[in-house]
C-alpha cells in the first residue's frame, strides 16, 4: 500500500506510462494488417481502465472535487457495474463499424430503462498500486438518463486550479503526449479561452497547456440537438477551420467512448462527458437486456 507521497507519485507515473502505451497500441492496431484484433484491443482497454482508476484515485486525493450531482450512490454503483461488464457486442460494434466508415445503426438516444440486472460489483481492497476505487467520483453519472431534448441547463464542476496531467493521442501525428492542463471553466460545449490543440484536433498545433472541448454536435450526430450554452470566448473559436477535424475526433471518441471509457476523452469533469457517458449507458441497457442469445437457441 503506497503510503508516502513518493510512492503514490510513482504509482501514478506508472499508470500514466501505461495509459500512453495502451493508447498507442489501440492506435497502431487500426493500421495492422488483417484488421483490428477485437480481443486484444478489449484486453488493452482493461489495462487502460485499471491504470486510469489508479491514476484518478491518486490524483483525486490531491484535489478537491465537487460532484455536480447529488445522491448518486446508487447510480454510481450501477454505472460501475455497467462499465465493468459492458457488452462485448457493443464494444465490438464500435471497433468494427466506426473504423470502417459504416454507420453503426445501434447508436441512438434511448430513454432510460431500468436496469433489472443485479448490481454485481466486485469491490476489492487491493494492496499497492491496485485499482478499483469504488468511491471514485469520476465514475458518477447523472441519475436520470434523459433524452436529448429535455435537459435543462446545468453547472459544471470547476476543478481546483492545481494542474492536472492527462495523456492524449493525436490521431494525425500518432503522437502520444502528456498534457498539463491549465484552468478550465465553461459551460457545456464551450471552449476554453485558449483553444489550443488536444485530442488530435489540429494538424498544426502542438499540444499545449490547455485543452479543447469539442462541440458535441460534431460527433454525436445521432443524438440530435444537444442543448448547450456556448461561452463566448475572447478568441474566435472558428478562426481555424482545421481545428475541427470531425472525422478524426469522432473516430477517437468512438474508439474510446464505448465500454465506459468515455472518461478518456476528457479528463475534466464536464457535462459533455456526462452526456456521452449517460447516453452510452442507455445504449448498454438496450444491449444487455436484448435477448439475441435466447432467440438463437430457439432457432434450433
Amino acid at each position: 500500500e503506497p503510503n508516502t507521497l513518493a510512492e503514490m507519485m510513482e504509482c501514478a507515473f506508472d499508470a500514466q506510462n501505461l495509459i500512453s502505451i495502451s493508447l498507442r497500441k489501440i492506435q497502431s492496431s487500426r493500421t495492422q494488417r488483417g484488421g483490428i484484433k477485437l480481443h486484444k484491443n478489449l484486453l488493452v482497454t482493461y489495462v487502460l481502465r485499471n491504470a486510469r482508476q489508479l491514476y484518478m484515485s491518486k490524483t483525486s486525493s490531491q484535489t478537491q472535487r465537487t460532484p455536480p450531482y447529488e445522491d448518486v450512490a446508487v447510480v454510481r454503483e450501477r454505472q460501475e457495474y455497467l462499465e465493468l461488464t459492458g457488452s462485448f457486442t457493443e464494444l465490438a460494434d464500435d471497433f468494427y463499424c466506426n473504423f470502417n466508415g459504416v454507420e453503426s445503426g445501434t447508436w441512438h438516444c434511448g430513454a432510460h430503462q431500468s436496469s433489472g440486472q443485479p448490481a454485481v460489483v466486485a469491490h476489492q481492497d487491493a494492496p499497492a498500486c491496485a485499482m478499483v476505487s469504488p468511491s471514485d467520483p469520476d465514475l458518477m453519472v447523472s441519475e436520470a438518463c434523459w433524452s436529448c431534448s429535455d435537459k435543462p441547463s446545468w453547472e459544471l464542476i470547476v476543478p481546483n486550479s492545481q494542474a492536472n496531467q492527462k495523456t492524449v493521442l493525436d490521431l494525425d501525428t500518432h503522437v502520444v503526449t502528456t498534457v498539463t492542463n491549465g484552468y478550465f471553466h465553461s459551460d457545456c460545449c464551450a471552449q476554453p479561452k485558449q483553444p489550443q490543440g488536444a485530442l488530435g484536433v489540429t494538424k498544426k498545433r502542438k499540444m499545449d497547456t490547455s485543452y479543447y472541448i469539442i462541440d458535441p454536435e460534431f460527433y454525436l450526430p445521432d443524438f440530435g440537438a444537444v442543448p448547450c450554452k456556448r461561452m463566448r470566448s475572447d478568441e474566435d473559436l472558428h478562426s481555424d477551420s482545421d481545428q475541427l477535424d470531425s472525422a478524426n475526433i469522432s473516430n477517437l471518441i468512438s474508439v474510446l467512448g464505448s465500454g465506459g471509457l468515455s472518461e478518456f476523452v476528457s479528463w475534466q469533469q464536464t457535462d459533455l462527458e456526462q452526456i456521452f457517458a449517460t447516453q452510452t449507458i442507455c445504449l448498454r441497457h438496450t444491449l444487455l437486456t436484448g435477448s439475441g442469445w435466447t432467440r438463437a437457441i430457439e432457432a434450433f
Binding site: R33, L43, I297
Partner: protein, 420 residues
C-alpha cells in the same frame, strides 16, 4: 532502475532475433490426424504441409516411424475486402482433420475469414490409350482414327493431390479463432470472438449462428469460460461456465490479460477440461465449475515482468496446451523455445528446449531450468536472458504414442520416445 533494465533487455532481444524475411514460414498451427499417421502444419503464408509417418521397415530399423513431407499446398491466399478496406491475412489459424472414411484424407483449414475443406488423395495410376488424344495430349483428327481401343490404367509415380472441395465463407465479422468437427461427421463449428457458426459440411452458403453477448471476463471473475458441446442430434448446448474467484492479493493492471484463456482442450476421456492462461495451465473436472482440479505454473517468473511483456506485446501471446493420449501428461509451450510437460500422476514436471543447437537427431533432450534468483548454476538460464522472440505457441501430441510435434517459429520439431 531495475525495471528499466529489464525492459531494455527484453525489447532488445525481441528486436534482434525477429527475422522478417521468413515471416511467411512461421508455423501457425500443428495437428495430428486421428490415427497419428499424418501431421498437418499451417503457416503464416497460407500454406499447409502434411507429413506422413513412414511405415516401419525391417531393412532400416533406425528410421522407425519418421515423418516425411507428404503433401504441400497453398490453402489460403491474401484477400482484400473492398467494402471494409481490410486486408484479410492468409495465415492459417487452425487445421482440423476429419476422421477417415475412405482412401482420401480430408481436413478443414481456416484463416481469419474463410474455412476450406480439402481433400488429399493419392494417385498412382493414370489412364493411357485415349482415342481422341495422342500421347502428348494433342487432339487427333477424327478422320484419322480407324480403330477404337479402351484406355487402360497404367501405374505412375505416386502423386498426392490436394483439392478444395468446399469453401465456407462470409460468415464471420471478426477473426476466426477455432474450428471443431462434430462427431457426427456432418457438421462443424467455427468461432470468432463473438459468434459461433454451425455448418453442415455439404452446405457452404449458410450456417446457424449464435451471438455471444457476455462471455468476456468481468472484473469479479476473470477466469470465465464457456464451453460448447454438440450432441448427436446437433443441438447446441451451452453447458458450463468455469470460473475461479480471483485472488485479490495478486491483482494488478494486467489481471484481466493474464487470466484470459488462450486455449481449451477436452481430455481424451471426456471427463476433464484443460485451460491455458498466460502463466498457468489448469485442469478442470467437468462436474466442478468453481475451481480447477489442478493448477500448474508454466513460467511464474514472468509475473514480475508483466509491464515489459505488455509493452512488447508478449503478454498477448496465445499459448496452446495439449493432453497426451492417456490424459496423464499435459504439455504447453513457453519462451526461449522452451516447452513444459507436467505429469499429472507423479506431479513432476520438466522443461525442454526445441532448438537445433541443443538437439541433434536421435539425441536425448536435456532438461532445462530457469534460474529465478540467487546464484545461477552452470546449466541454468536466467530470466533476463530468455529470448522472448522464440516462443512455442503451437504443440500437439500423437493420439496414442509418445510422439510430439512442437512448432518453434518457422521450424517444426518432432520428438519421439526412445525405444530400446
Amino acid at each position: 532502475m531495475e525495471e528499466e533494465n529489464d525492459t531494455r533487455k527484453v525489447n532488445n532481444s525481441f528486436l534482434r532475433d525477429h527475422n522478417y524475411a521468413t515471416e511467411a514460414d512461421i508455423i501457425s498451427t500443428v495437428e495430428f490426424n486421428s490415427t497419428g499417421e499424418l501431421l498437418a502444419t499451417g503457416d503464416k503464408g497460407g500454406r499447409v504441409v502434411v507429413f506422413q509417418r513412414e511405415q516401419e521397415s525391417k531393412t532400416q530399423p533406425q528410421r522407425r516411424g519418421e515423418y516425411n513431407v507428404y503433401s504441400t499446398f497453398q490453402s489460403h491466399e491474401p484477400e482484400f475486402d473492398y467494402l471494409k478496406s481490410l486486408e484479410i491475412e492468409e495465415k492459417i489459424n487452425k487445421i482440423k482433420w476429419l476422421p477417415q472414411q475412405n482412401a482420401a484424407y480430408f481436413l478443414l483449414s481456416t484463416n481469419d475469414k474463410t474455412v476450406k475443406l480439402w481433400k488429399i488423395s493419392e494417385r498412382d495410376k493414370r489412364p493411357e490409350g485415349y482415342n481422341l488424344k495422342d500421347e502428348d495430349g494433342r487432339i487427333r483428327d477424327p478422320a484419322t482414327i480407324t480403330s477404337l481401343r479402351v484406355p487402360v490404367l497404367q501405374p505412375m509415380d505416386l502423386m498426392v493431390e490436394a483439392t478444395a472441395r468446399r469453401v465456407f465463407s462470409n460468415a464471420h465479422t471478426y477473426h476466426i479463432n477455432s474450428i471443431s468437427v462434430n462427431s457426427d461427421l456432418q457438421t462443424f463449428i467455427s468461432t470468432d470472438d463473438l459468434r459461433v457458426n454451425l455448418w453442415n459440411l455439404e452446405i457452404t452458403d449458410r450456417s446457424f449462428s449464435i451471438l455471444i453477448s457476455s462471455c468476456f471476463p468481468s472484473t469479479g471473475s476473470p477466469s470465465q469460460l464457456f464451453s460448447f458441446l454438440c450432441d448427436k442430434t446437433r443441438r447446441l448446448l451451452v453447458s458450463i461456465n468455469f470460473e475461479e474467484p480471483e485472488d485479490p492479493s495478486t491483482r494488478s493492471f494486467f489481471s484481466e490479460i493474464i487470466s484470459s484463456i488462450s486455449d481449451v482442450k477436452f481430455s481424451h476421456n471426456g471427463r476433464y477440461l484443460m485451460t491455458r492462461d498466460y502463466l498457468t495451465v489448469k485442469v478442470w473436472d467437468l462436474q466442478m465449475e468453481n475451481k480447477p482440479l489442478e493448477t500448474y505454473q508454466v513460467h511464474d517468473y514472468l509475473r514480475g515482468k508483466l509491464c515489459s511483456l505488455y509493452e512488447n506485446d508478449c503478454i498477448f501471446d496465445k499459448f496452446e496446451c495439449v493432453w497426451n493420449g492417456s490424459d496423464s501428461v499435459i504439455m504447453t509451450g513457453s519462451y526461449n523455445n522452451f516447452f513444459r510437460m507436467f505429469d499429472r500422476n507423479t506431479k513432476r514436471d520438466v522443461t525442454l528446449e526445441a532448438s537445433r543447437e541443443n538437439s541433434k537427431p536421435r539425441a536425448i533432450l536435456k532438461p532445462r531450468k530457469v534460474c529465478v534468483g540467487g546464484k545461477r548454476r552452470k546449466d541454468e538460464i536466467s530470466v533476463d536472458s530468455l529470448d522472448f522472440s522464440k516462443k512455442i505457441l503451437h504443440t500437439t501430441w500423437h493420439p496414442h504414442e509418445n510422439i510430439i510435434a512442437v512448432a518453434a517459429t518457422n521450424n517444426l520439431y518432432i520428438f519421439q520416445d526412445k525405444v530400446n
